[in-house]
Amino acid sequence: MSKVVSLAEAAALVRDGDTLALGGNLLHRIPAAFARALARAGRRRLELVKTAAAYDVDLLCAAGAVATVHAGYVGYETHGMAPAYRRAVESGAVTAAEHACTTVIAALRAAAFGVPFQPVAGLDGSDLPAARGWRRIADPYGRGGEVVVIPSIRPDWAVLHVQVADAQGNGRILGAPYEDPLMARAARRVILTAERLVPSADLAREPELTQVPGFAVAAVVHAPGGAWPGSCHGFYDVDAAALDEWLRAAREPARLAAHLEAAR
């Protein structure tokens, strides 16, 4: 009944062309080790979905694994743009399916709710709806005006790095949940990487903290340090030196292999 597998076994579940929602946010509680495993496995043509991304999306772009990125923000905050992502988009190798973070959430909500589209407030004055072909629908109850509706995005996988999980895939997130609980619901299947594996009975003592129920989870990987070089709340902070090193490597495609090797 255990769903625990190795990182490489979990990565092998993903097929070329799959759509992946990646948990965490920017450099925080991201499925970094899993992204590296996908890069090592040579996955291609992935569609990535995330509100605000940094290392994981950038690394997969550097590895040539990506066809499309659906995101509201890709960058390293005050450390600047994502070099590999930017290069891939500007060269045409990767399509930036520009979203607002809000519309990524709306698209995932539609999938989680089992409906074809999700109305979202705002977007007035933005060029995004026209650029993305998002439609407006009049309120059939005549109380509001028109509202933009976002088509659902149903990822094949949600890949989430959590602090604690059991072998059945029940996952506990401490601190910021970001969009992980929604991703776990919107996606067809879930892959968890976890800092710690514990017996289910430990989770049952505070079940309110388990945001990912095990029945939707296909694989659990024991991956201490799985968010490195990012942070993991309650476990470790961003590795600033490693991040600087990566940002240099991301500018030079030839250095990717060394980065993947060093990160083992």
């Binding site: 450099l27 509201g72 809000t102 007035d124």
Partner: protein, 246 residues
């Protein structure tokens, strides 16, 4: 950086003063300046301010983040609740968010921003990081406060390459001045100490007048007081507020 021209401190102070006690205020990614503005306001005139951030801090008291990230675990410090990004967007969407701090790589005369691309969106000359939540927040939050760490004609442009977001902009705080939106168009509300209206105009890529009209005078932004400086130095001894200006 002399005390008389401490641009980050001047900008934070100008941002903090616009916050009113009891308001909800959200800052997103890459926002050390707004974070410090909310902390300063909490410590001075707005003890009941409720800053919200991406990890879910509600009235939290995070430290100035040395990493420069305003999305990390430290943002929950002291928070009695977790009210994460999705909830904040919904709060704004239903009319419950008082203030949002946002930035733009390009800002046009109406306060609309471009965070998406220079050149064509589909095949950009320069891909920008994206507008995060701004396209939905700017039209729905009650008051939008923009800041930009550069004030030059490439940042303040007549026409955006792409209009990522537009909406309820109240003011733009820059290294040179505070611009206010009056009847839908940015105007100079005040210039920071040592700056002149002509310098602001030269740094702005579109014609801009004082709030009082073309011939009107422009006041000087009240410089940081000794107490404001002291509180900020206490909140940010390592000067994380300089990160954006390097």
């Amino acid at each position: 950086m002399s005390a008389g021209r401490d641009v980050p401190t001047q900008m934070i102070v100008a941002m903090a003063r616009r916050l009113r006690d009891g308001e909800t205020v959200f800052y997103g990614v890459a926002s050390p300046l707004p974070l410090l503005a909310t902390r300063l306001a909490q410590r001075r005139h707005a003890p009941r301010l409720t800053p919200l951030n991406i990890p879910g801090g509600v009235g939290a008291t995070p430290p100035a983040p040395r990493s420069g990230s305003t999305v990390g675990p430290d943002m929950l410090a002291g928070s009695p609740a977790v009210f994460p990004l999705m909830d904040i967007f919904d709060l704004s969407a239903r009319g419950g968010l008082d203030v949002v701090f946002l930035s733009g790589v390009q800002i046009d005369p109406t306060g609309a921003i471009n965070m998406s691309a220079i050149g064509d969106l589909e095949r950009p000359r320069t891909k920008l990081p994206g507008g995060a939540g701004s396209a939905c927040l700017m039209p729905t939050a009650r008051r939008v406060l923009l800041w930009r760490s550069r004030h030059d004609p490439r940042s303040f442009v007549e026409r955006l390459d792409f209009r990522t977001a537009a909406g309820n902009v109240e003011a733009v705080v820059t290294p040179l001045a505070v611009l206010a939106r009056v009847e839908g168009r940015l105007a100079v509300e005040s210039v920071h100490e040592g700056m002149t209206l002509d310098e602001v105009r030269a740094a702005t890529g579109f014609p801009i007048d004082p709030v009082g009209g073309r011939g009107a005078g422009v006041p000087v932004t009240p410089p940081p007081t000794a107490d404001e400086r002291a509180v900020l130095d206490d909140l940010d001894p390592a000067r994380v507020r300089d990160l954006e200006f390097r």
